[in-house]
Symmetry: C4
Subunit: 204 residues, 4 copies
């Protein structure tokens, strides 16, 4: 899949527009990246309006997070790099900040369990609604490398994972393409909304 930096940057720009239009990255929150090659990652510059992204808002870093084009890498870069190291097939990481991801991450201390949803089949290695999917919730932390270590430690113990939440901060998910990662974003958002609505809903 040897695509140019420009092509990947354009895909990340479009992902930003889609996620902004859906209200998932308010007030310049969120960040997205794509792995071009083992030592080359395209990633959004910090603090840009995700609905107004252009390819000028995408920078290039290497596999340990050093800038390759003079622009300043985001503080959250270490979280993207941890995922690329752990998942060789991941080419895209999306981090958003939706209302539902933020809220549900504040209701559950350590993890959320999703069961009996047909939509779980949107994720690989789940082929029946009778499956059960666990999404961990990590406490927020301004020390990002420390947080990345926590996430890595969890993933070693729980290899079958498709996304994680940071409390009061949002969702990280990844896939082999922008299309796949956006599909997971959509499925997670649906599941978060279902679970939140259940907590506010009583029998008549």
């Amino acid at each position: 899949m040897s695509r140019t930096f420009e092509e990947w940057a354009q895909e990340l720009v479009q992902a930003g527009h889609i996620l902004y239009a859906q209200g998932m990255v308010p007030a310049t929150s969120g960040n997205f990246s794509a792995r071009l090659a083992p030592d080359s990652i395209a990633i959004t510059v910090s603090g840009r309006h995700k609905g107004h992204l252009t390819t000028a808002d995408i920078m290039q870093i290497d596999a340990v997070g050093r800038s390759r084009d003079g622009k300043r890498p985001s503080a959250e870069t270490a979280l993207h790099l941890q995922l690329y190291r752990r998942f060789p097939d991941a080419h895209v990481v999306l981090h958003h900040h939706s209302l539902h991801a933020t809220l549900i991450s504040q209701f559950e201390k350590d993890r959320i369990i999703f069961e009996n949803y047909e939509l779980l089949k949107a994720f690989p290695d789940i082929d029946t609604h009778a499956s059960r999917m666990e999404v961990p919730v990590f406490a927020n932390d301004q020390d990002i490398p420390r947080l990345a270590k926590k996430v890595e430690k969890y993933m070693i113990a729980h290899p079958s994972i498709h996304g994680y939440l940071i409390s009061g901060h949002g969702l990280y998910t990844w896939g082999d393409s922008v299309e796949t990662a956006l599909k997971y974003v959509e499925a997670f958002e649906f599941l978060f909304k279902c679970e939140l609505m259940k907590r506010g809903v009583r029998s008549p």
Copy 2:
């Protein structure tokens, strides 16, 4: 109504775009079909993004579900075929996976009753708000032919039916055209939302 496969495929594509824009078919869920002739049905290929459908995502099957063009039929085909056998006037079947259909199907075990809504008049053979409409809820099942048999058995006992829910999975509805079926989708979605909001709402 002798329209070509291409014309019907285009209508299903537009139905997909409309339903995706309304958030009803997230993460490639949902499927739609149209009966062209007694032995010819156009149906969406499995796993395609419903907001990005093109006519290349619509395949052709016969009345017992065998592929007529080499593409692989969806697992849920048997549910569409059961409806075409039972309802000679049905030319379109729409299955979506909206949040509200999914949620309400998890709250009610066997059926949901809707009463006193003027909007019930959107359905045929109801001409007053004082009517009562029953929507059955079937337990989800990965064995689709078995589920189709259950649905058929219910419909023999309850011939006046306009849609049914599969628990945690969504709604099936049908009509003589895409326009009619989309009208029923809209009416059901409205009724589901009303009932869900009532369960979360108390007098002050």
Copy 3:
């Protein structure tokens, strides 16, 4: 204000598109009219998709509801006519079927009181948030002339009124133009949403 039937029809068509886009007239519900002259009213034909309206979906009736162009008047015509008789300055009547109008009309038996909203100032003869606005709720009735008589009787006793609800059926509001009536629709929808959310909201 001597505008042609065609010009008024086009305004009603646009009102339909706006209200449909906002989800207020699902499944062909709702109806809109405009008074061209004392004996000439443009009104939507029954059962048309309000988001797909064209001027062919607008018919002409006289002041007592008789068709002037061969098309069949809606069953709800009498409710429009009652408003034109009572309010000489009203040139437009809008009836919609929003989720919030439907729900709140099922929670309150006879009337809803709105107090302490700055947005009440959107209505004439209210110039402070400290005002109080009453919106009556009438029981639904398939006998429309009988319902129109009830509404007329209420209005004689309560002359300062800007809209009313029919239980499980929606809102009627009116104004001197489509722009004014749509402003009232917006204000009512805001107030209905506020009151509904309050009923589902508790202090932590």
Copy 4:
């Protein structure tokens, strides 16, 4: 930043379209201004549909609120002027009337506290989610100069402030540009929604 009145007016027009599209300024509510120069402010004329604004709906006033172009200033002008006097770096003031701002302002008597949200970092002088942001709630008042005095008195005691609510009336926020002020609008709206949803949500 020496831009013409026309350029600032166009920015306010676009802000109005954006806020209307997001449902935040229903029924002609809301008002926006920009400071061109120490004695020259562009401000929306009262009572215009904010989604249909043109530069003809933007007027010019001086630093004490006197009209410079013959149009009639809004009643709420004094609130904009108080902010321009207090914050020399503020070039834009946005006042909207969203459902969530209105509702949450009716639930809290004097102030709302936001804690543990990563999105607090959207505001200046907050660089960790562990911060705490206070948003005061003022009782509504038709005597606007009196209300402006109350706001000024509060701000002298609480200099680190980025927005305030008027009960049942909405939010005032400001920034050095339309882009910055809209970012704050977005961040506040997110926080209001979170807090409102928490009040309606219970553990299962």
